[in-house]
Amino acid sequence: MSRIGQAISEIQTLESVSREDRWMNRIHPLSKLCLTVFYIVLTVSFSKYDLAGLFSMILYPAIAFMTADLSVRDAFRRLRAVLALVAVMGIANPFFDRTAILSFGAFTVTGGIVSMISLFMKAVFTVFAAYLLIATTPMDDICYALRLLFVPRILVTLLLLVYRYLTMLMKEAGRVTDAYLLRAPGQKGIHFRAWGPLAGQMLLRSADFAGVLYESMLLRGFTGEFRPTFRHSLKASDLLWPLGWASVLILLKLFPLVSVLGRLVTGNWN
């Protein structure tokens, strides 16, 4: 599938998953948004050598994924977007930080290897946490939560508009490139002579469309902003879910679950 086709299908999958009527999807968007940000802050604040502590942070995404019944495969696929930069920096670490920490015979574990692993773990955990939010919360609910956080109306209106017309314009971009490539066999992209006209025509059509869109909004009483609403009433789980997790996560940060469990079993308390 082309890059555009893939992006469209990703948005559409997320859109349907997030609108399913499930327990996690019904939780108040503000709770989920706050919990997500809290989790990400806590996760990235672990020291780069604290693998054990960082590992315990797997509890939230793992259990929440099961609760929400989401596809781990889809979440892993999203990693490719951030992988390039993370990989460059992570892989550089073993070369620049060669302090030996541990050796098994010929194999030596260096500080750089540990910090590389912790960087990858952080990348996976944070991407998974963000996926949990967006896969259980439709865009209008996120916008509603943003309004509750005093994000200006105009910005929320823009978010809704960009989101609404993104798929439409991506489909158009796909059609335009397909039509171009069907008449340009052997080319992989748009030849430089067509750069301006191809994207420019599309831009002019979009600008005209925006004009008609404005008229259609005006005729239905548009006053300069949208008003996102959330039609569920507040439930106990709206508070219990984020607060429960927040306390577990704080405990995990204070109390190194992984090493204590390990020491209990191996009896090694030095």
Binding site: K122, F255, P256, V258
Partner: protein, 335 residues
């Protein structure tokens, strides 16, 4: 150039989010002062257009590779700096939520690196001065290329600074910058040419769609004031970042400190956070990054691995419980 959450420390993310939020608040104020309701659907659709057009592959002549449109320059040339900046924020937030392009926590950094330079520097200091006495094809070409190159260089340099200050990478500053800047010089040139091609087309077909090329004189910010605003912002950011840099144990300092046998620098943070940190460090895997003889390190490692396995086992149990629970629920709804 999108930064993931894993690449920033909370403190750096916080400083950059505050900086971007300040620019956003000023932009919201400026746009609402324009009081042009017609502009809002245009901002939304143009944001979506730039997002979609960035997915089109433009072939670079003479090479096998392809380039894309530059969002920040494009949007500010169409909408002006303030409205363009707000549209870019919407685009970046949607990229981060739906495509995991950049992280939620790193959003402030990404807005700064990609939207701030492109929209404000690119349009106020490059685009507008060049278009001062009327536009032409050549002027648009120059403004787009210079704008894209300069803003991408600044963006890439900010990525380097933000990651280094966050203490994420062991890459020395020089190596990192030497890798990032030339790559982004090439990308900037290509993006500039593509953006110029599109803007020249628009200029010839519908010049009134472009910002800052004719009747913008009345609400023009004097160049001195523009420099003042940008200089002030730079000072705030620079100051904030250097304070952070000095208080955080970043990779290099940590290495130097250890080699010299100096006590480890105190980790940033106060109160509960610092207490939590110290409790944890005293207990966890590789405490204080010190080595009390390889045997004990081996022991801790073994117990760390065993602990991790136990956590995994626990997760598998939870998975079974949840599955059983769901089956039961399904059975009861089917009845």
């Amino acid at each position: 150039m999108h930064m993931a959450d894993a690449l920033v420390s909370p403190a750096v993310a916080g400083v950059m989010a505050a900086a971007s939020a300040t620019a956003a608040v000023v932009s919201v104020y400026k746009v609402s002062q324009e009081d042009n309701r017609k502009k809002i659907p245009l901002m939304g659709v143009m944001g979506a257009f730039v997002f979609a057009a960035q997915m089109i592959n433009f072939t670079i002549p003479g090479t096998g590779s392809s380039g894309h449109l530059c969002g920040g320059m494009m949007l500010s040339a169409l909408l002006g700096p303030w409205a363009g900046f707000l549209s870019m924020i919407a685009v970046l937030l949607i990229q981060c939520l739906f495509f995991a392009d950049g992280g939620l926590l790193a959003l402030g950094c990404n807005i700064w690196n990609m939207a701030f330079y492109g929209c404000f520097l690119g349009s106020l200091l490059i685009w507008r001065p060049i278009m001062k006495n009327g536009a032409s094809r050549l002027k648009i070409l120059i403004a787009s290329v210079v704008g894209c190159v300069v803003t991408l260089q600044l963006g890439a340099f900010s990525v380097v600074l933000e990651t280094l200050v966050s203490g994420i990478t062991e890459l020395p500053f020089g190596v990192f910058a030497a890798a990032m800047q030339p790559i982004h010089l090439a990308i900037g040139l290509v993006e500039g040419l593509i953006t110029a091609a599109v803007l020249i087309f628009v200029y010839e077909a519908r010049p009134e769609l472009l910002w800052g090329i004719d009747t913008q004189k009345e609400n023009r910010m004097p160049i001195g004031a523009t420099f003042g605003v940008l200089g002030g912002a730079a000072a705030v950011i620079g100051g904030g970042l250097s304070l952070l840099a000095s208080s955080l144990p970043d990779g290099l300092e940590w290495a130097i400190g250890r080699v010299a046998g100096v006590e480890e620098l105190e980790s940033a943070g106060t109160g509960a956070y610092a207490a939590a940190e110290s409790v944890q460090e005293s207990l966890s895997f590789l405490p204080d990054y010190a080595f009390k003889g390889s045997e004990s390190v081996l022991g801790t490692t073994v117990s760390g691995i065993v602990g991790a396995l136990l956590v995994l086992a626990l997760l598998i149990c939870v998975a079974f419980i949840i599955r059983a629970f769901r089956k039961k629920q399904q059975a009861s709804t089917e009845e």
